[in-house]
Symmetry: C2
Subunit: 345 residues, 2 copies
């Protein structure tokens, strides 16, 4: 499926990228940009007790709230034109770029990924070809951002639903390009690298093999990707979507694998919506290799977690999770997988 | 202040400990225990991707909900007698003890700490002497649990308010005694140990000294403890309560330091309640040394965090925090400290 990217600038100087698969889509005409605006900067602070960066972004208290006019709907908000397929543009209220009071890495970049011009649909409800366009946009932006000297780690994600803090209802995700590797991604890389160095073993490859042998936690098996509930799931409903091939990031995923990912991802998200027969609140995180150096152990995957145990009951991470760092999961991972597969509904 | 501990067993075999400071308190008469019951066991599962344990505790879905009769009120619930001061007893729905499917540490222990027999008061609203009794109970249980062979780490905490998942409104906290050191406590110990080994420097001692030099983030200064908002706070309102003396846990805190802690802690919790002129939702975590081996870098402290930015607006940790591991704080730590001190109200 050939997808055309058209890049330009918004009147205020922010970058915008249209991704169009439909040959009938109008040619994107972008007005000449106005004077480039400097995005508001956040402050990076070093937490010497946990060895990690924290962003203090006081300007984000002003960001668009749910009650305002939707900035992602065509003709209403920030995106020029009467319609669009997938569009990526610089966030008006970025957590990054950051300046730093401590000696440390400044920079970074935040983008919004709108999946469709239709306010009322979800990623799981889009046509397969459109989900493939979203995957392509993630891959293309990952490759482009990884080239920037101020970017150490690209992170594509979606927070869906007010209970996970989404401030806009329009179906969309975000991309953070950090000027350092954030703590959890660093931890995952350290654990994967240690196993690789000791045993020449990739934890993702080994796990996918085991889940295929005993499919009790598998929720969708594709040609190139498998989705399963982790053996040690932290959340009531949690799924990893992992490619069978050992590839470090979405940019390294082949076109036919992207098409299969679109199929598997759409089915998994549909399973989440099917759980309680309503749009599910979830957090979707893409775990990708850092921009550099190349790591032989790196294996890309998506994590999808929902804090909801039932339509009215959510898990609240509290002292055990946030203070001590041990998660208590009150849902059996095997039962969660069966529920996601639709068994017993 | 002499505090008398009376230990015994509940009719179902669970252990209970009364802590009484008032000489007029009735002598505790405990009925002989019934046949010892085995608490329901959870399953410990090893997360090989993050190198950490997760507890799968499906039996906890049955635990007492807010709508039931309060199990901590005298004459209504689990605690014998018509009144009490501070009482600690085995949790009826423990996340631990755990059995393990993987080779790993089984065991552990979960206790409830009720601060008072009065359902309607908060820790911040108790008399100073009672807060000191609570501190003494934490210290005494820490020492006792650290002696157990199946305990590697004692963690005293309080989750207050429905928005952080508290299922009971009665003022109380909990103690988890883990059969391993949970991931975040392990991380904090590793970072502190690395600095100690490299520079013979304690991060807590150094930080308390700096906060005294520039008190812009200090919220309460006591004789033996100082409470301040961390420079790299992760949450809108976050306070560390740190002893001036380099001591590893509450059991090593001297009686006069405990009295000062009661004073500082009560004031800080009152400041949280004062923020929005209502009982604050917070998570209180005691970061203590592991049971063994002794670590010269260990320095005990409490963390108190609230997810609320305003009475109606909470921070939701989402993909950036949960997936990547970088916290974005939209509140300036210096402004949070001023608000906690009551400036500008």
């Amino acid at each position: 499926m050939p997808i055309v990217r058209t890049s330009g600038r918004l009147p205020d100087g922010r970058a915008i990228h249209f991704y169009d698969a439909d040959p009938a889509s109008p040619r994107r005409e972008l007005a000449p940009p106005g004077p480039a605006t400097t995005p508001p900067a956040s402050q990076l602070r070093w937490d010497a007790w946990l060895d990690e960066w924290v962003v203090v972004a006081t300007h984000r208290q002003r960001r668009t709230a749910r009650s305002d006019v939707c900035p992602l709907c065509p003709s209403l908000g920030e995106i020029p034109g009467a319609s669009y397929e997938v569009v990526v543009f610089d966030n008006r209220y970025p957590a990054l770029p950051a300046v730093t009071g401590d000696p440390g890495p400044a920079g970074g970049h935040c983008e919004v990924v709108s999946y469709t011009d239709d306010h009322e649909v979800a990623l799981s409800g889009l046509p397969l070809s459109r989900v493939e366009t979203v995957v392509t946009a993630w891959a293309d932006r990952t490759a482009a951002l990884n080239e920037r000297p101020d970017v150490a780690q690209v992170f594509c994600f979606e927070n869906r639903g007010a209970v996970v803090g989404a401030t806009l209802a329009h179906p969309h995700g975000q991309i953070y390009a950090y000027p350092f590797v954030p703590a959890r991604l660093r931890r995952l890389a350290e654990v994967a690298d240690a196993r690789w160095d000791a045993h020449r073993e990739c934890v993702a490859c080994v796990t996918v093999g085991r889940e295929h042998e005993d499919p009790s936690r598998v929720v969708v098996t594709g040609e190139a990707w498998t989705a399963f509930v982790p053996y040690a799931a932290h959340w009531p409903y949690e799924v990893r979507v992992v490619p069978h091939r050992h590839v470090p990031d979405l940019a390294a995923v082949d076109p036919w694998e992207r098409a299969d990912l679109a199929h598997v991802l759409r089915r998994v998200l549909g399973q989440f919506d099917g759980l309680f027969q309503r749009p599910a609140a979830y957090v979707l995180s893409w775990i990708q290799a850092a921009a550099r150096p190349a790591r032989p152990a790196a294996h890309v995957y998506a994590e999808i977690v929902s804090p909801m145990r039932s339509p009215a009951d959510r898990k609240h991470p509290a002292a055990g999770e946030l203070g001590a760092g041990m998660y208590v999961n009150e849902m059996s991972p095997e039962r969660a997988a069966a529920a996601l597969r639709g068994e017993g509904r």
